[in-house]
């Protein structure tokens, strides 16, 4: 899948996956007295999933071919340049 639809659908999917991953129901599973590389498992789980989610956002947000530039200037918009001072006052 390519293009804008892919960005939309992937971000929705990622949202629900992250919602599940951070839900208390799943945290219970990791809430135990155990350590992984000396770090409590619950803590390690949360941080690594968090990092994974960020990585996915980044991959999904990277500009790619087929995705047009997002900013569209409306023909009526007041350009900020026309209002800035440019040293006249």
């Amino acid at each position: 899948m390519t293009g804008l639809n892919a960005v939309r659908e992937r971000s929705l999917a990622l949202f629900f996956i992250a919602l599940l991953a951070f839900s208390p129901a799943l945290l219970v599973v990791f809430s135990r007295h155990a350590f992984i590389f000396g770090v409590p498992v619950l803590y390690a789980y949360l941080l690594s999933v968090w990092g994974g989610v960020i990585l996915c956002i980044a991959l999904n947000a990277f500009p790619r071919e087929g995705v047009p530039a997002q900013s569209v200037r409306s023909d009526n918009a007041i350009s900020d340049e026309s209002l800035s001072d440019k040293g006249t006052d």
């Binding site: 960005v7 939309r8 971000s11 929705l12 990622l14 949202f15 992250a18 919602l19 951070f22 839900s23 208390p24 945290l27 219970v28 809430s31 135990r32 007295h33 350590f35 590389f37 000396g38 770090v39 409590p40 619950l42 803590y43 949360l46 941080l47 968090w50 990092g51 989610v53 960020i54 990585l55 956002i57 980044a58 947000a61 990277f62 500009p63 530039a69 997002q70 900013s71 569209v72 409306s74 023909d75 009526n76 918009a77 007041i78 350009s79 900020d80 340049e81 026309s82 209002l83 800035s84 001072d85 440019k86 040293g87 006249t88 006052d89």
Partner: protein, 921 residues
């Protein structure tokens, strides 16, 4: 070394450095070399203003008591940023299209530019954010108090023991910060409401606080302890600390969900977040970078929170040190004065960035949405006729900043001084979360109405104030506190911490549940049962369908007002100054190739342009009031508006139906073309048939005529010859008759006008009759006829005469084409494949492959050569085929070429035929 004066000077120097950064960036922007426009990282870091002293000091404090309970505050924003494409991008696009200057402006703009709503939002924002500001003041002053006691570790004195406000350090901090907020944010009125310098300074502070926070984390983990394993291992020895690695009991889960939801709302709805993320966004494309960079920042700054908290609990086991100060006291306990000072400056960064941005955002709201509308409506001030209002605007904003910071101080001094940082902050989050329903509802649901938003917000705010703010305010003792434990007037159902008997959840979950129920419920119910004004409907459509409308000329087409250009120009001048106004109008005229000096009547487009220009300076609601003073006329009536809005969809619908119709027409004309082709084909077939028939008729006629002429001519013709000629004439006449009979026969069959005398019979008799009828022909030509008829032939349902006709046709055909010297024809009749199978074979030259199908066509003569005289009428096989097919059978050529011809036909047996009969009918 860390004397009070030294710390104070360092802090002040740091603030001046910040100002220098801001000043430099502002100057660059004024010179047209904006740093922010080209650099998405500054934007991303500026969003990290989300991380305040709460994060910097308070997270550790919370982690020290509830383990990972501090994390949801940062997971929520990450979740929202996952949905940036739907949410943030849309809000930013809307804000750019409508020149939104604040969250109050956004909500009021969406709901018909309602002043009532913008006032309400501003009040909620100010009341809600004041505790948050007090949190920052408290953090700065506490950390200062702690730091100056270096190397001793002494907790700051309780608020009640401090000197009068004038001598209180916190008061001083409030004043200094308000000065800086004024310097950063209100040096002049910017019509675009961008504060690039402030944004850059905030981004700079974000970097500092991140470095400081990580430094402490590294220092604690690897300096005080030997890495994570050592730190967590030692904590695991102590049962009280080991508990921090787990989720606490049932209540913690509810709180986890509540905090996640709260922070999700806060990342959009906190006025300062709205300011940096939406209003200060100069380039929509920067968002794509910020959406992952900001969560990454959150992750980084939280990486060491739990290690620091555990380290603090291990280093200060007696609980004498407030966990909110661990970040500072841990380096101090190890006598790292340099690191301690850096940490203090990091905390100062976290606090000042929040205070400055929040103060500027709130002052903009107070000025645009609270004070200006009030002043403009106050007739006796005659403000609408005053000349230069930009000074007044600045004055109002500066005063609001001072008032807001003083309110923060008052809250700290009299209310929240004893609470932990996170407790204070969460109260503000819950207030800001009240904006989420009108915003989210407003950008996705066109039906959300102004009254709904107003009722929902009011109810939500009241419930928030009753369940969260009031108990906090009442606690210190100068307000009766009985109602908290017993309920007002002893009504237990109204207890603020257990409203309507809801118990068993923590206070925050309780408050969020009831306030959101009231807020969302009010919004939905009132919207569904209320009516929207025309302007509301326009704005609703423009907001919800922003991606559809942002390319078109937005609101102007709904505005039917009329005004003169000089009036509009004068109006703009009063708010944003002569030069900026002139530039804006000249640019406008240039882009549309108009000559403003000749133009007197302003078109709706220019009126709308003016309104949005003003909205950038004084907010949408006030701008509307101001423009209405010079523009006569109103927004169109609701029917007309809906007409225009629905025009597009109607046009689309219409073109859809047109498309469909044209497709139908195409299909029809295709069918017509096919029918026409078929007709042409039939026509040419008919022509061909006629010409063939006349040709076939002419051949015997010609010979009859020529022989008759010879006889009539009276030439010397011997009797013998005469007899021969007459014989030829008779023969040709017979042939002619036969031909005409066959043509008639075939035509009848094709027209289905033959009377079929169908009966069930044993074919043996018919075959024998046929053979008998034609045997003379074989004898004449000395052709051997071999007949082989099976004992039991199946009964068939046929017309007897016609069946004989077929067999005679085939036999005579075979006789004609059999070998001329030693002719031999065989006829076999068998019972095969459930029917009667008849083979008629000769030993002639056979039939070519290409003739196998065409041989059954009319007038087709196999092996016909131009010189040869036709040996048959060419209709026999065509008629045979018609007959066999009428009997439900088929006829075909079976022989290989060059080995004699063999024709075969199959007629289904009677049982099978009867079964087929109903289907055939």
């Amino acid at each position: 070394m860390l004397a009070p004066w030294f710390v104070a000077v360092a802090s002040f120097a740091y603030l001046c450095l910040l100002f220098a950064v801001a000043y430099y960036v502002d100057k660059r922007a004024d010179a047209g070399r904006s740093l922010l426009r080209s650099n998405p990282y500054i934007y991303a870091f500026s969003i990290a203003v989300y991380c305040t002293s709460w994060t910097y000091y308070g997270s550790v404090g919370r982690a020290a008591s509830s383990g990972i309970g501090f994390l949801p505050i940062y997971l929520g924003p990450t979740l929202v940023f996952v949905l940036w494409w739907f949410l943030l991008r849309k809000i930013i696009r809307i804000s750019k299209a409508h020149r939104i200057t604040s969250i109050a402006d956004f909500i009021s703009s969406r709901y018909g530019k309602s002043t009532r709503l913008s006032v309400l939002v501003t009040v909620i924002a100010v009341v809600g954010i004041v505790p948050y500001i007090s949190l920052q003041l408290k953090a700065i002053s506490s950390s200062f108090y702690v730091l100056i006691e270096y190397p001793e570790i002494v907790m700051p004195p309780p608020v009640s023991e401090r000197a009068s406000p004038v001598g209180d350090l916190t008061f001083l901090v409030a004043l200094v910060l308000s000065l800086f907020a004024i310097l950063f944010g209100t040096r002049h009125i910017d019509a675009s409401e961008h504060h690039e310098g402030m944004v850059a300074a905030v981004a700079f502070e974000s970097v500092i606080k991140l470095i400081a926070s990580v430094s402490v984390g590294v220092f604690v983990t690897f300096g005080l302890f030997n890495g994570f394993g050592d730190l967590f291992g030692r904590a695991a020895m102590e049962p009280a600390l080991a508990q921090l690695f787990l989720m606490e009991g049932g209540g913690a889960y509810g709180q986890w969900v509540t905090l996640t939801l709260l922070s999700m709302a806060a990342i959009i709805c906190l006025p300062r977040q709205f300011q940096v993320t939406v209003v200060e966004n100069v380039n929509e494309d920067h968002l794509a970078k910020a959406v992952w960079l900001f969560p990454l920042y959150l992750l980084a700054i939280n990486l060491f929170v739990l290690p620091i908290a555990i380290g603090g609990r291990l280093m200060f086991p007696d609980g004498s040190v407030d966990a909110d100060t661990f970040v500072l006291t841990l380096p101090m306990s190890d006598r790292r004065d340099g690191l301690a000072l850096f940490v203090f400056l990091g905390g100062l960064s976290a606090a000042t960035s929040m205070v400055i941005v929040a103060a500027i955002a709130l002052s903009t709201m107070v000025c645009n949405d609270l004070v200006m509308p009030a002043l403009l409506r106050t007739g006796w001030l005659r403000l609408t006729e005053r000349d230069d209002l930009s000074r007044l605007l600045l004055l109002i904003r500066r005063a609001s900043i001072v008032v807001i910071l003083l309110l923060g101080y008052v809250y700290f001094r009299f209310v929240g001084g004893a609470d932990s940082l996170v407790t204070i902050g969460l109260v503000s989050f819950a207030a800001a979360a009240q904006f989420a329903p009108p915003i989210i509802g407003g950008i996705f649901w066109k039906g959300a109405s102004r009254d709904g938003a107003f009722v929902g917000l009011s109810l939500g705010f009241l419930v928030w104030a009753y369940t969260l703010l009031l108990p906090l305010v009442a606690r210190p003792g100068w307000f009766p506190t009985d109602f908290i434990d017993q309920g007002p007037f002893g009504i237990a159902l109204l207890k603020p911490h257990a409203l309507f008997g809801l118990t068993g959840v923590d206070g925050m979950t309780h408050a969020l549940f009831w306030s959101m129920l009231a807020n969302i419920g009010g919004l939905v119910i009132v919207s569904l049962w209320g009516r929207q004004s025309p302007l509301e409907r326009i704005q609703a459509v423009l907001f919800v369908d922003v991606f559809r409308w942002s390319g078109s000329s937005s609101t102007s087409q709904f505005w039917r007002g009329s005004a003169t250009v000089p009036d509009l120009y004068a109006l703009v001048v009063r708010f944003i100054g002569q030069s900026r106004a002139r530039r804006a109008f000249v640019t406008y005229a240039h882009e549309r190739q108009l000559n403003l000096s000749e133009l007197t009547e302003a078109d709706p487009d220019l009126v709308s342009f003016t309104e949005r220009l003003l909205a950038g300076a004084i907010g949408a609601a006030s701008a509307r009031v101001m423009v209405a003073t010079v523009a006569k006329g109103e927004v169109m009536g609701s029917e007309e508006v809906m007409e225009i809005l629905e025009e597009t969809s109607q046009v689309i619908e219409y073109s859809h139906s047109l498309e469909q119709k044209s497709r139908e027409l195409e299909a029809k004309s295709e069918a017509l073309r096919e029918a026409n082709e078929r007709l042409k084909e039939l026509d040419s077939l008919k022509d061909e048939f006629l010409s063939t028939v006349s040709h076939e008729l002419r051949t015997p006629l010609t010979s009859i005529r020529s022989f008759s002429e010879v006889l009539v001519g009276g030439q010397a013709v011997s009797n013998e010859e005469r007899t021969r000629f007459l014989g030829i004439i008779v023969k040709e006449s017979e042939r002619l008759t036969r031909l005409i009979n066959q043509i008639l026969d075939l035509a009848k069959m094709e027209a289905n006008s033959v009377d079929w005398d169908m009966e069930a019979l044993d074919p043996r008799g018919a075959i024998e009759d046929a053979v008998a009828a034609i045997s003379s022909l074989f004898k004449e030509n000395r052709i051997v006829l071999e007949i082989e008829i099976e004992e039991h032939l199946p009964e068939v349902f046929v017309d007897r005469d016609r069946l004989i006709q077929v067999i005679v046709n085939l036999l005579s055909n075979a006789a004609k084409f059999s070998d001329s010297a030693a002719g031999r024809v065989s006829l076999e009749a068998r019972s095969r494949e459930g029917g009667l199978l008849v083979h008629v074979a000769d030993n002639g030259r056979g039939i070519d492959l290409e003739d196998r199908e065409t041989i059954f066509e009319r007038f087709h003569q196999a092996n016909k050569k131009p010189t040869e005289r036709p040996q048959g009428t060419g209709l026999g096989l065509a008629i045979s085929r018609q007959i066999v097919e009428h009997f439900g059978g088929r006829i075909w050529v079976e022989s290989p070429p060059g080995d004699g011809a063999c024709l075969a036909f199959l007629i289904p047996a009677i049982a099978r035929r009867q079964a087929q009969a109903p289907a055939a009918k």
